[in-house]
Amino acid sequence: MQDTSVMRPTVPAAPAGDPLIVMEAVNKWYGTYHALRDVNLSVGRGEKIVLCGPSGSGKSTLIRCINQLETIKSGSITVDGTRLDDSSRSVDAVRSEVGMVFQSFNLFPHMTVLQNCTLAPMRVRGIAAAQAEATARRYLERVRIAEHAHKYPAQLSGGQQQRVAIARALCMEPKVMLFDEPTSALDPEMVKEVLDTMVGLARDGMTMVCVTHEMGFARQVADRVIFMAEGEILEQADPETFFRSPRHPRARSFLGEILAHH
């Protein structure tokens, strides 16, 4: 069979330090707009990365390429040893290992919280209903929303919905979680409950790539802060260094604007 996923060595557990996500020379265009310019990024197992930058800088585009919600023009993306090519097989393999949390929650409104959480494990992994439900209840417990399992998304607050969305992604037991501005659509009083959930997840060792403007969160959990502008990675550093002495002038002005609001 001519398939790259067959040719790759199937190493079940890669040694620690071996990167989980590798992006090499990734370029992405929207028509004539160059959205990602030669992006190189590698994410280690267990690493927590915060992506920041002005709007339109390509942060969301970058993480959406990791699970192929966006396709790239050139370069390569490898997730847990699976290189993303055009084959639907590689895309399926990657998507089932990568959890994603969206700005607008995107819960399925016609399903209960529990059904939202059991759908993918049953349909994608073929897990039996009872077991999927047990797993779902465990993760709903973890995001402290188990008592709402029977409700519909519309009956929950924004913060609760976003925690359900996190639980839904966790039910697939992903190797990495992508967060695309998870608190940007929330009322201020609900931001904390979602960030607390994310901090808890980070403490448990989840690999995380987060697009967020929550600099407090970045300081608290990030191993690395990456600053992007106009589709390029301009700077990356540990949060202490980045916040204390950003080197790139654009990073400096961005931080100035962001921190002025806090």
Binding site: N67, D92, R95, G99, F102, S104, N106, L119, R123
Partner: protein, 217 residues
């Protein structure tokens, strides 16, 4: 002289009504299956499939149902394919309903927030569960009022089947009217029967429309 309107005449109209209901049911079921296919093809990633379906819809939405019945009944006869009237009519109505329902449902699928598709894809759901479990249940709910509205149109549209010699309710009314010389009375009865069939459906359509707009946020 003609007969007066009695139980026999009423029975004849009821016979016609049976055909009307049966035709509408066939058209609706056939059109429901066909329309689902059309809606999925229209929202697929294949350019060729989308174009082909757009062409089919343009033809069936752009020509009168009467003409479609004609072409399928007599046209197929011309090329040597003689179908029983009911089958020709069933095919014509199915093709007609598929085009309209397909377009109604396509609109509903496209009206869903993009995030619903993205969340389903991000979870690794394949096309079939994506559509069956996530997209279609929501889209069909949005499309329910328009779907019921089309069903009402379809019931009334079945009267056109008379053109190929089908004795459904309207044609039965015409025959009884000719026999009794009481067209005003007969067609009032026929109209009342159509009304009794369609009005509850319209009411139901309005009811679900209200319910949906109440729960919509």
């Amino acid at each position: 002289m003609g007969n007066s309107f009695g139980l026999g005449e009423l029975g004849f109209l009821i016979q016609g009504l049976k055909w009307t209901v049966l035709l509408a049911a066939i058209a609706f079921i056939g059109g429901g299956i066909g329309g689902l296919g059309v809606a999925l093809a229209r929202t697929s990633t294949s350019w060729g499939l989308r174009r082909a379906m757009a062409g089919y819809i343009a033809v069936f939405q752009g020509t009168p149902l009467l003409m479609q019945l004609f072409v399928i009944y007599y046209g197929l006869g011309l090329i040597g394919l003689t179908l029983p009237a009911w089958l020709a009519v069933a095919i014509a109505f199915t093709l007609h309903a598929s085009a309209f329902l397909g377009e109604i449902w396509r609109g509903a699928i496209e009206a869903l927030p993009k995030g619903q598709f993205e969340a389903a894809r991000a979870l690794g759901l394949h096309y079939v569960p994506q559509m069956r479990d996530v997209i279609l249940p929501q889209a069909l709910r949005i499309a329910l009022p328009a779907t019921v509205g089309f069903l009402v149109q379809l019931i009334k549209g079945t009267s056109l089947a008379a053109i190929v010699g089908f004795i459904e309710l309207a044609r039965a009314g015409q025959i009884v009217s000719n026999q009794t010389y009481a067209p005003l009375f007969v067609f009032t009865v026929v109209g009342a029967i159509y009304f009794a069939l369609c009005w509850p459906l319209s009411l139901y359509g309005m009811h679900i429309e209200n319910r949906i707009s109440r729960t919509a946020r």
